[in-house]
C-alpha cells in the first residue's frame, strides 16, 4: 500500500505507514489471544486500541514492543520486515512504552528513573561510567539536558528529587511517561495511561499526550478503557474483542459500527 497519509480533522498531516501488523496470531498453549489481526500505525498519528477486558489489547502491545513473538504473521517497521527480536532490540529501534501496572524503580528519585530512559543511548562502558571522566561525564551531561527538558515539559520539576515510592499514583504515571519520552522514541506505546485516574488527572494526561504528539511529532499507540478519552484523543481506533479485530477507523466510524457497539458497549438484554 503506497500512499502519503491523510489530513486529520484538526489539520495535522499524517504520514505514511510506520508500523504494519500483518495477520498476527498469538497463542498461549491452546489459547488464541490474538486471531489473525492486521492493522497499521502511521507516522505522526495517535492510534488507539480499545476493547473489553481480555480482548487481547495488551498482548497486541507486547507484540509490537517485542515482548511476545507471534506464532503467525509479520511485523513490518518502516517498510522492512522485522525479524523476531528481544524487547531491548526493539527499544533501540525507537519504540518506547509505559506499563499498565506502573513499573518504576520505587526507591530511586524521579530524576534517576527518567535518566534510565536514556540507557539505550549511552555508549560508554561500565568502567568509564564508574570513573566518570571525559566521555562518560560529557555523555551524562548531554543526557541530563534532554531529561531536564522532558521534566520541564511534563511539569514535574517539583518532584525531581523525590523518591518515586512517595508519589501519588497519577504522578507516577506521569513519571513513567517521562521515562518513555527520555528514550526519544519514534513510536510511543502507552498501556492504559489513564487507568485509575480521576477526571482532573485524566485531563492533564490527555493534554500531555496531545502535546507530546504535537511538540515532538511522536507517533503514539495507546490502549485505553475510557471511551470518552479515546474518542477525543485518537485519530484512528482499532477495536478488538476476544482476540479478533471487529472495527478499525476514525472515532466516528467506530462509534457507529454495530458490531463494536454490541461487543464493547454492550447489547441490550431484553
Amino acid at each position: 500500500m503506497l500512499d502519503e497519509g491523510y489530513v486529520t480533522a484538526d489539520g495535522r498531516q499524517i504520514g505514511g505507514v510506520m508500523m504494519d501488523m500483518r495477520g498476527i496470531t498469538l497463542r498461549f498453549g491452546g489459547v488464541e489471544a490474538i486471531k489473525n489481526i492486521s492493522f497499521d500505525i502511521r507516522e505522526g498519528e495517535i492510534r488507539a486500541i480499545i476493547g473489553p477486558n481480555g480482548a487481547g489489547k495488551s498482548s497486541m502491545l507486547n507484540v509490537i514492543s517485542g515482548f511476545y513473538n507471534p506464532q503467525e504473521g509479520e511485523v513490518w517497521f518502516h517498510g522492512k520486515r522485522r525479524p523476531p527480536m528481544k524487547p531491548f532490540q526493539v527499544a533501540r529501534q525507537g519504540i518506547a512504552r509505559t506499563f499498565q501496572n506502573i513499573a518504576l524503580f520505587e526507591g530511586m528519585t524521579v530524576l534517576d528513573n527518567v535518566m534510565t530512559g536514556r540507557l539505550t543511548q549511552m555508549k560508554s562502558g561500565m568502567l568509564a561510567q564508574a570513573i566518570w571522566k571525559g566521555k562518560a561525564e560529557r555523555e551524562e551531561t548531554a543526557n541530563r539536558e534532554i531529561v531536564e527538558k522532558i521534566i520541564d515539559f511534563l511539569e514535574i520539576q517539583a518532584i525531581r528529587k523525590t523518591p518515586v515510592g512517595r508519589l501519588p499514583y497519577g504522578l507516577k504515571k506521569r513519571v513513567e511517561l517521562a521515562r518513555a519520552l527520555a528514550a526519544e522514541p519514534k513510536l510511543l506505546l502507552l498501556d492504559e495511561p489513564m487507568a485509575g485516574m480521576n477526571v482532573e488527572e485524566k485531563e492533564d494526561m490527555s493534554r500531555f499526550i496531545l502535546d507530546v504528539n504535537d511538540e515532538f511529532g511522536t507517533t503514539i499507540a495507546l490502549i485505553e478503557h475510557d471511551m470518552g478519552v479515546v474518542m477525543d484523543l485518537s485519530d484512528r481506533v482499532v477495536v478488538m474483542d476476544y482476540g479478533r479485530k471487529i472495527g478499525d477507523g476514525t472515532p466516528d466510524e467506530v462509534r457507529n459500527n454495530q458490531e463494536v457497539i454490541d461487543a464493547y458497549l454492550g447489547v441490550a438484554h431484553d
Binding site: 541530563r144 531536564e148 527538558k149 521534566i151 517539583a158
Partner: protein
C-alpha cells in the same frame, strides 16, 4: 503636589535601569531556574533583552501612551516586558494570571490594550475566548510556545520573534526619544485592584509614586545591591511591582524567579533570599508543616525541639530588638541555634533573611512569635495599591504582632472622627483610570486618601493599630466601640476555631457564632477516643464546647486588656452545626464572612443568643456541591462565656 523633581536622580524606571547597567553592569539582576539550573542575567544582559523587546514593540506599531497588558507567572521575561513597555512609551498593565477570562476581558477592554504579552497557552486561550469582545486588542505576544503550534498566528507572535524583529529594526532613535520624554509625572504602571466591591479599578501610579516610595522604603530597611528576593507573588499585585521592579531597580538587587509555582519552597531554600515577603497564610502553612513533622519525629528529637524552641521564644525576639540579654541566655541561644534553630531556618529557606515582611491580614501572635524566636526579623506593614504599598511599617527593634508600625517615611496619617484612617504621601496614586467619580470620593483636593479601615494610633508607641473595616465598625448600645473583626481574628488564631462571627452592634453586649475546625478538632477527638459520626455531632460535643468556652474566656481576657475595646467581650456563644460556606452564600469565594447574610439566615439563633435560652432547635437549608439543596436540623447548646473585668481606662 508639593514635592518637586528629585536632585538629579533618575526619574523613570528605564533611567534607573541605565544607572544600574552603568554601576553594576556585570552583577546578577535576574535569575530563573530552568531545566534544573539557575540561569542568570546581569544588568547589562537584561538591558539588552529589554531593548530588543521594546524595539520589537515599536516595529509592531506601539504608540505613546498605549496600554500593554502583561499576564503570566513570575518570569524575568515578563518583568522585562514591563520595562520594555515603558521604554516604548507605553504603560504596562500587569493582570492576575489566575483571573477568569471575563475578568481579563474587562481589564483589557477598560484600558483599551492594543497588545498583550502573556506567559503561555493557558493565557492565550483565555484571551482567545473573549477576543471577539475586544475591538482594540491587536496583537498577542507569548513567551512559551508550547501547544500553540496549531494556532492562527495572524495576530500572535512569540516573544523571541518580537525581540528578533526589534534587533533587526532601526527604531533605536525613536526609542531614545520616547525614553527622553519620560519624567516624574509620566505614568509608570497601571494596576487593577482586586475590588471586593464592584468592578476592579485601574490605579494609575506615576514614576514619582513608584520611585519616591521605592527610595524611602529601601532606605528604611537599608536595602542594597547584593540583596536577593524571590519573586513568587502575583505580578499584578502592587507589592510585587514595588519589591521586584521598584525597589529592585532602585537598590539594584537581584530578582529570582522560581522554576514553577510548585517548586517555590525548594527554590526558596536554594536562593536563600535576604529580603522576603509573604502573606500570613504562607507563614501559617509553613509553621503547621513543621509542627506536623515534629509530631511524627522520635521522642528525643521532639524533646530537643521543644526545649530549644522554648529558649528561642524567650531570647530570640529580645536579641532581635537589641534588648539586654544575659550572658547565659546568649550562650543558650547560641546552642539552640546550633542544634535546632539554624537547621530549621535552613530547611525553611529563611537562613539569610535580613528583612521579612508580612501584611494583608492579621497574623496570629504565636505564628509571629515562632518566626521571631528563630531570629528572623519578621515585621508587619500596612499598605494598599493606592498608596504604592507603604502606609505604615514597623522599624527594626519595634516589632509587635498587634500593630502595623509607624508611618512610612514621607507618609502623614490622620484618624477621622469615625475612626477611619486617612493618609497623604508621595506614593498617593494619580487617579483611577477612566473613573473620576471614584477618584474624587477616595482622594480629596489636599491629597488625603481614605483607607476604608478603622484604627487608632497607640499613644505609648506611636504605632498604628488597625481594628476593622471602617464600615463594619459600629457602636454598641452604650456607645462603646464595636469592632467585630478584631475579636473574630483573636478567636480564629486558635487552631480549633475555623471561623467566628461576632454580633453586638447597637446591643448591650456581644455574642458570637463559632465554627470548629474539623481537622484540628477531629484530630483531637481521635487522640482522646471520642467517637462522633458527623460534623454536627462533633460540634455539639460537651467537651468540644468546654474547650471552645476556654478559648472564648482567654480572648475575653485579652480584649478586656484594651480599654477602648473592652466592650467587645463575647458574653454568650454557640457553635454552629454547619460550616459557613460559599455555596450557601454565607462567605465570599475568598472565604470572607458575609455578615448581613449570616445575620438574616440565622436570625433565630441570634435571637436565642440574646433572650437567655440555653438551647435552641433550628432548621437550616444547605446547598450541596452539585447544587442540590437539603435541610439539616439541630439542637444547639448556647453557653455563657467568662467575661473579664474591663481594664481601668484611667490606668494610662
Amino acid at each position: 503636589m508639593a514635592t518637586g523633581q528629585p536632585q538629579a536622580g533618575p526619574v523613570s524606571i528605564p533611567a534607573l535601569l541605565a544607572r544600574n547597567v552603568a554601576q553594576h553592569g556585570a552583577k546578577a539582576a535576574y535569575r530563573e531556574k530552568e531545566f534544573g539550573i539557575w540561569q542568570s542575567w546581569s544588568w547589562a544582559e537584561a538591558a539588552q533583552e529589554i531593548d530588543a523587546l521594546a524595539l520589537g514593540l515599536l516595529t509592531l506599531g506601539a504608540d505613546v501612551g498605549d496600554h500593554i497588558a502583561i499576564v503570566g507567572r513570575n518570569r524575568p521575561a515578563l518583568y522585562w516586558a514591563m520595562v520594555a513597555a515603558q521604554k516604548a512609551g507605553c504603560v504596562p498593565v500587569p493582570l492576575y494570571q489566575d483571573a477568569a477570562a471575563e475578568e481579563v476581558a474587562y481589564a483589557l477592554d477598560h484600558c483599551g490594550a492594543r497588545f498583550a504579552i502573556v506567559g503561555d497557552q493557558e493565557q492565550v486561550d483565555k484571551i482567545d475566548e473573549v477576543r471577539d469582545q475586544l475591538t482594540e486588542l491587536e496583537h498577542v505576544i507569548y513567551l512559551d510556545g508550547r501547544g500553540l503550534r496549531k494556532y492562527d498566528h495572524a495576530a500572535m507572535t512569540s516573544y523571541a520573534d518580537v525581540q528578533a524583529a526589534g534587533r533587526a529594526s532601526d527604531m533605536a532613535s525613536t526609542m531614545a526619544e520616547r525614553i527622553a520624554v519620560l519624567d516624574y509625572d509620566s505614568t509608570c504602571v497601571m494596576l487593577y485592584t482586586s475590588g471586593t466591591t464592584g468592578r476592579p479599578k485601574g490605579v494609575v501610579l506615576s514614576n514619582r509614586n513608584v520611585i519616591e516610595t521605592s527610595r524611602n522604603s529601601s532606605d528604611f530597611d537599608h536595602l542594597k545591591a547584593g540583596d536577593e528576593v524571590l519573586a513568587y507573588l502575583p505580578m499584578a499585585w502592587v507589592g510585587d511591582f514595588i519589591f521586584s521592579i521598584g525597589q529592585a531597580m532602585w537598590a539594584g538587587f537581584c530578582v529570582n524567579c522560581p522554576e514553577s509555582p510548585d517548586t517555590m519552597q525548594s527554590d526558596l531554600r536554594e536562593i536563600g533570599p535576604t529580603y522576603y515577603f509573604a502573606p500570613p497564610r504562607v507563614f501559617e502553612t509553613q509553621l503547621t508543616n513543621v509542627m506536623i513533622r515534629m509530631e511524627d519525629a522520635g521522642r528525643f528529637k521532639k524533646w530537643l525541639f521543644h526545649k530549644y524552641m522554648a529558649v528561642g521564644r524567650r531570647v530570640g525576639p529580645r536579641l532581635l530588638d537589641g534588648k539586654d540579654v544575659s550572658f547565659s541566655d546568649r550562650l543558650q541561644y547560641r546552642l539552640a541555634d546550633w542544634l535546632v534553630i539554624g537547621p530549621l531556618k535552613n530547611t525553611l529557606g529563611l537562613s539569610r533573611v535580613r528583612v521579612g515582611y508580612t501584611a494583608g491580614e492579621a497574623i496570629g501572635p504565636e505564628i509571629f512569635d515562632f518566626y521571631r524566636a528563630l531570629g528572623i526579623n519578621l515585621k508587619q506593614l500596612y499598605g494598599q495599591t493606592e498608596a504604592t504599598v507603604f502606609i505604615t511599617q514597623q522599624p527594626d527593634g519595634e516589632v509587635r504582632s498587634d500593630t502595623v508600625g509607624v508611618p512610612s517615611p514621607g507618609v502623614e496619617l490622620r484618624i477621622a472622627e469615625n475612626g477611619e484612617v486617612f493618609y497623604r504621601s508621595p506614593g498617593v496614586f494619580v487617579e483611577y483610570y477612566k473613573n473620576a467619580d471614584s477618584t474624587a470620593s477616595t482622594k480629596d483636593a489636599e491629597g488625603w486618601v481614605a483607607t476604608g479601615d478603622a484604627g487608632f494610633i497607640e499613644e505609648s508607641s506611636g504605632h498604628l493599630r488597625i481594628i476593622d473595616r471602617a464600615k463594619d465598625v459600629g457602636k454598641m448600645a452604650d456607645g462603646a466601640l464595636f469592632a467585630p473583626k478584631y475579636v473574630e481574628n483573636k478567636l480564629k488564631f486558635y487552631p480549633n476555631i475555623l471561623e467566628a462571627v461576632v454580633f453586638g452592634a447597637d446591643r448591650d453586649r456581644c455574642t458570637a457564632f463559632i465554627n470548629i475546625d474539623l481537622t484540628a478538632v477531629g484530630n483531637w477527638a481521635e487522640r482522646n477516643n471520642i467517637a462522633y459520626s458527623s460534623y454536627q455531632e462533633l460540634s455539639q460535643h460537651p467537651q468540644v464546647l468546654d474547650t471552645i468556652a476556654g478559648h472564648v474566656a482567654e480572648v475575653n481576657a485579652s480584649v478586656a486588656a484594651d480599654p477602648m475595646l473592652a466592650g467587645c467581650q463575647v458574653h454568650r456563644f454557640l457553635v454552629l452545626h454547619k460550616e459557613l460556606d460559599a455555596d450557601d452564600g454565607e462567605m465570599t469565594r475568598t472565604r470572607k464572612v458575609r455578615r448581613r447574610i449570616v445575620e438574616e439566615k440565622f436570625s433565630d439563633l441570634i435571637a436565642a443568643l440574646y433572650d437567655g435560652k440555653s438551647e435552641i432547635y433550628t432548621e437550616t437549608e444547605v446547598t450541596y456541591e452539585d447544587g442540590r439543596k437539603g435541610k439539616i436540623t439541630a439542637t444547639l447548646d448556647i453557653r455563657d462565656a467568662v467575661v473579664a473585668p474591663a481594664a481601668q481606662v484611667a490606668a494610662e
